[in-house]
């Protein structure tokens, strides 16, 4: 007979929360057995490809597809004229604007979709694209949002009223034809008064350049319309499959029950795969027209040039303080470049996302934020690249302003942070810009981080380096980058968070099988986050069945419960909560079954890891496995057969993960080459579900932060040509460029989340970008630098050094 296991051994056997469970997804990914959109091949499938505009702003004079249509194997060439009768030549954006599916008379950015070629294979489609003759009449190009607000050139005639009047947009009044919205939060007059009366005011323009999420797998879909049963199946790279189903139904008129959206394996999203793209609409139309499946998969250049970009925020800031360094106020005006269409992916009531988290980790009594959205001749987007809506922008802004204020006050930047942190006892904390921070212990995290890196020792070393540099003994400077960030993730409460009217709850549905294994389906979709691993761990702990016996399934709208998808670190805060709550429903029913089987009252049994035991008599128990079998196979009076549960979770609040990061960097003043000597990252994401997955997420987020801070950008020339459309110029770091990361943590659970978890996938990116940038800026502080813009690539660092007179 087997030895009776201890309580701890039984818990370990479940592989539940807190253990380093190996990723169940990796077996297929590491063996090349993943199933991505481009792996899907359906019988008779055709291939679509776009004719794209070489110009950033031009009128379409004519489109001649004769030669393309004459090519053997070309089935169709769709233009806006073909889509107009269906009302599909424009589509709604997630931001309440509309976007051309195919150029309707003009183009507004380089690479814009002009015509859609459908052919028998991918090669013929590409040949046919070359044969479509488009005549353009070039128009003046606007690439600078500040200039766009002064220009007579109207980019969006479709949004103009009669006699040159400017009708309101989706977010209120517009003050110029190229203006999209003004969004204001906080107290303008009070903030300006505080600024006027302050001992010290630091002012700076902080530009967060345009970049791109650049997932390894580009965007694509396979649309398949079955004309016999009227069902449309759409496989695609969708971070929000249910939302896509609803949007497709709304714009196509196909009833939602006749649409099945499937997100197969997704090779990274980072926000790039949240929205809807012309390729999806054209593929659906082409499949409806031809009656066979149509595949469209963009190439790397198309991905970088046309699908959703990130950032492009010009943030002018003022921060005021007493001469002792106590911050009294924060003022920010942001000019947001949204490109040719407003296709930002933000909750409807937040046209600049959660930019109003820009008071950061600090107790700032008075604040004001205004954001002006602007149209330019650039690609649309403005998605949250590995962050909750515009939170990277906010964190970068405040963490740069703190550094500038430290310079203004001639104070140590670590100490300035310390004296302004929100204190542990102030939580839940009401911020001046309207958020209720759920929990935090910033001082503990900060002290732990500074101690871990020997902060004082680093500063002493840096001071010596400056002396050595001045004495001509070295040409390398040393920068110490500090960041304490606070995120706002887990959107969100339906009362104030929706996208296109869809409330941002999420869901989980669990079926326990008779033999004690289970399947759980969620409204989210993993793109590499490891949901199949971690959600099974949550359930294992909640329902007492081994994680290895629980299948997690996502991404098929015919089977998964409705949810808003995966982005903004919302999976664990929202769907993870739904999973725990659904698990608790299972447990509640299991308790009744156990009580019946043990012949005691419901209240006389209690849950114990993997079983219910009779209170006070732990030798009398029924395991969850036994209970599952009984649930299906034993007639129990007053209890329905089966063991299933569903939970739709509307979170009461967002979660507020935070972290303390330190970067130590050496900079070659003569070449601008940077060398990251050390990177320490302390993350507090509340309850930790799988430490190994957290560590992987931190490594990934930091690497994308390094990319953005040190070189990754979507740059345009004056004509609106994209200068960084390939991976030769668009910086995607490899193992070679990445330093060794030291990870650490504190645990401050969320008080309102069922398991106290806050979300972690995006924290390292949000905190990492300002940390790398602060290190570069800090290296030159001793030579008079206040602020220099990212990306900090070699020549820009060299230029900074040059302007400071460091090249002799």
């Amino acid at each position: 007979m087997n030895k009776e296991l201890t309580r701890e051994e039984r818990a370990d056997a479940l592989g539940g929360m807190g253990c380093k469970r190996k990723r169940v997804e990796d077996a297929r990914f590491t063996q090349g057995k993943g199933n991505y959109v481009d792996d899907i091949k359906l019988p008779g499938m055709l291939h679509g490809d776009f004719v794209r505009s070489p110009y950033a702003h031009a009128r379409i004079v004519s489109i001649n597809a004769e030669a393309a249509l004459a090519l053997d194997g070309v089935i169709a060439v769709l233009t806006a004229e073909d889509l107009a009768p269906l009302g599909l030549h424009w589509m709604p954006t997630l931001a309440g604007d509309k976007q051309m599916v195919l150029a309707d008379g003009k183009v507004l950015f380089q690479g814009q979709e002009v015509a859609f070629v459908v052919a028998k294979d991918r090669y013929i489609a590409a040949d046919a694209v070359e044969l479509v003759e488009v005549e353009y009449e070039e128009l003046p190009v606007l690439t600078d949002p500040h200039a766009a607000l002064e220009s007579d050139v109207v980019l969006r005639e479709d949004l103009m009223g009669e006699g040159g009047s400017i009708p309101d947009g989706a977010h209120g009044p517009r003050k110029h034809p190229n203006h999209i919205f003004t969004w204001e939060v906080g107290e303008k007059d009070a903030t300006e008064q505080v600024m006027g009366e302050a001992d010290v005011v630091a002012e700076e323009m902080v530009y967060y350049h345009r970049t791109h999420p650049c997932p390894l797998e580009t965007c694509g879909c396979v649309a398949s319309m079955d004309k016999v049963n009227g069902k449309l199946t759409l496989h695609g790279t969708f971070q929000a499959p249910h939302a896509i189903r609803t949007v497709v139904s709304l714009i196509s008129g196909i009833e939602e029950h006749n649409i099945r959206v499937i997100s197969p394996d997704i090779g990274g999203g980072f926000g790039n795969k949240v929205g809807a793209y012309p390729g999806y609409v054209c593929s659906v139309v082409a499949s409806i027209v031809t009656g066979v499946p149509v595949k469209w998969v963009e190439d790397r250049m198309e991905n970088l040039m046309t699908t959703a970009f990130a950032r492009d925020y010009w943030m002018r800031g003022k921060i005021s303080a007493t001469k002792e360094g106590k911050i009294t106020g924060l003022w920010c005006h942001t000019t947001a470049d949204h490109g040719g269409f407003d296709a930002c992916a933000d909750p409807t009531k937040f046209p600049a996302g959660f930019m109003n988290i820009c008071t950061g980790s600090y107790d700032i009594p008075t604040a004001y934020l205004a954001v002006d959205g602007v149209y330019t001749n650039k690609a649309p987007g403005g998605v949250s690249y590995r962050c909750s809506f515009r939170v990277t922008e906010a964190a970068y802004f405040i963490e740069r302003m703190i550094e500038v204020l430290a310079i203004e006050l001639n104070m140590d930047a670590a100490e300035l942070r310390r004296i302004n942190f929100i204190k542990k006892e102030q939580f839940p904390y009401q911020s001046a810009l309207g958020w209720e921070y759920d929990s935090g212990d910033y001082h503990t995290a900060w002290d732990k981080a500074l101690k871990a890196v020997d902060y004082e020792g680093l500063r002493a070393e840096q001071a010596q380096r400056v002396e050595d540099f001045k004495a001509g003994k070295t040409r390398k400077l040393m920068g110490i980058g500090l960041t304490h960030f606070t995120e706002i993730v887990g959107a969100g409460p339906v009362k104030n968070c929706d996208i296109l009217g869809l409330g941002m709850f999420d869901s989980c549905e669990i079926r326990i099988h008779p033999t004690g294994s289970a399947i759980a389906r969620l409204g989210t979709i993993s793109q590499g986050q490891g949901h199949a691993t971690t959600f099974a761990q949550i359930l294992a702990t909640e329902i007492g069945l081994p994680a290895d016996s629980i299948t997690i399934e996502e991404g098929d709208t015919d089977t998964a419960p409705y949810g808003l998808g995966t982005y903004g670190s919302r999976s664990t805060p929202v769907a993870g909560a739904a999973t725990a709550m659904a698990g608790r429903k299972i447990r509640a029913k299991a308790q009744m079954i156990a009580a019946y089987l043990l012949e005691v009252h419901d209240d006389d049994v209690e849950f114990d890891v993997d079983r219910f035991v009779v209170k006070g008599a732990p030798e009398k128990f029924k395991t969850m496995k036994e209970i599952a079998f009984a649930a299906y196979n034993q007639a129990i009076p007053g209890i329905e057969p089966g063991l299933e549960a569903v939970s739709y979770y509307d979170p009461p609040n967002m979660t507020y993960p935070f972290g303390a990061y330190v970067c130590v960097m050496d900079i070659d003043v003569d070449t601008g080459v940077t060398d990251i000597r050390r990177f320490y990252a302390l993350d507090d994401c509340g309850t930790r579900i799988n430490p190994m997955i957290i560590e992987g997420q931190v490594h990934g987020g930091l690497t994308e932060a390094l990319a953005v801070a040190l070189g990754q950008e979507i740059a345009y020339d004056e004509m609106g040509n994209v200068k960084t459309g390939t991976l030769m110029d668009f910086f995607l770091p490899t193992a070679w460029e990445v330093p060794n990361y030291e990870t650490d943590h504190t645990v401050t659970p969320s008080p309102h989340h069922p398991i106290g978890a806050k979300g972690v996938g995006e924290s390292p990116h949000v905190g990492g970008v300002p940390c790398f940038s602060n290190a570069v800026n800090d290296a030159f502080r001793a030579f008079g630098l206040r602020h220099t813009h990212m990306p900090h690539d070699h020549w820009r660092i060299w230029k900074t050094a040059n302007e400071l007179g460091l090249h002799g």
Binding site: D49, M301, D670, M728, F731, T734, W798, H807
Partner: protein, 284 residues
């Protein structure tokens, strides 16, 4: 990123390859490692109706060292160069430079011949070959001829090679003295922001010979005779090094791109050359 249609040829011998070239003229191109040509075809910046893959052609690969003369077949990969112990000993600059080309995956495919024959100013081998004063062997319908690397490059992608010729080998005398290949690049896989190949000989504290070539700082590689001459006969004191750097700056003509403006590139070129000279001198 889908190339136009092309005919694919895979001849077994040089004659077979040459006959396709002869038949199709500039409609035909030979394919070595493919890391320049295939992306150009996929971007449809190069139309190649007739593509001749050289990988099955006999006798185009391999490194031979006879006496002081080193001959490297055109289809020899950078990976082969890095791992050839005898070459590393006879001409260590070849290994040092090859290790700075792209990444291991590219180096498994990338060849010496492709690198030098394509005429891409970003490639590292052309400057290196000029530094080594290498000779290129070209075979065409008229037979075999040899061209000095220093005379081969005319402009970006324009070389002395005729459309019906194939570059079959590079050869050079094993260098003596100190060497260095210094390269600044933004990331692994990138072309140089500035790169310098330097060979020096030292006798009794005096520089007796110097060869200096720069990469990606003009539309061709730049062998700066003046820069080398500025070092010869000196003890590489500050003034001599400065004179060499100034001479090099007189010979390069960089353009602005995403790596930075001209002013920065000239500064980087000076820094990289200075470091390469110091490094080579220390090894001489």
């Amino acid at each position: 990123m889908i190339p136009a249609a092309f005919e694919y040829y895979r001849p077994k011998d040089l004659e077979g390859a040459l006959s396709v070239l002869e038949e199709h003229g500039d409609d035909a191109r030979v394919l070595a490692g493919g890391h320049s040509l295939i992306p150009m075809m996929k971007l449809r910046m190069a139309e190649v109706p007739h593509l001749i893959d050289l990988q099955d052609v006999d006798g185009l690969s391999g490194i031979s060292i006879e006496g002081n003369t080193i001959r490297i077949g055109a289809m020899t990969t950078q990976h082969d160069i890095i791992n050839d112990v005898q070459l590393a000993s006879a001409a260590p600059i070849m290994r040092e430079a090859s290790l700075q080309i792209a990444d291991p995956q590219v180096r498994y495919m990338g060849t010496v011949g492709g690198n030098v024959a394509n005429g891409d100013p970003g490639n590292d081998m052309p400057g290196l070959m000029q530094c080594l004063d290498a000779t290129f062997t070209l075979v065409g319908p008229e037979g075999e001829r040899e061209v000095a690397a220093r005379d081969f490059y005319e402009a970006a992608y324009m070389t002395d090679r005729e459309d019906d010729e194939i570059l079959t080998a590079v050869s050079f005398e094993a260098p003596s003295g100190g060497y260095a290949y210094e390269k600044q690049k933004r990331k692994i896989g990138d072309y140089a922001t500035a790169a310098a190949a330097v060979l020096l000989t030292k006798e009794g504290g005096t520089c007796t010979a110097a060869s200096i070539a720069m990469t990606n700082l003009s539309d061709t590689p730049v062998h700066s005779d003046a820069a080398g001459a500025a070092l010869v006969g000196t003890s590489l004191d500050d003034a001599a090094v400065k004179a060499a750097v100034d001479a090099m700056l007189g010979d390069i003509d960089p353009t602005q791109d995403n790596r930075g403006p001209i002013e920065f590139k000239r500064h980087a070129a000076a820094v990289i050359l200075r470091r390469a000279i110091e490094n080579a001198w220390a090894r001489a």
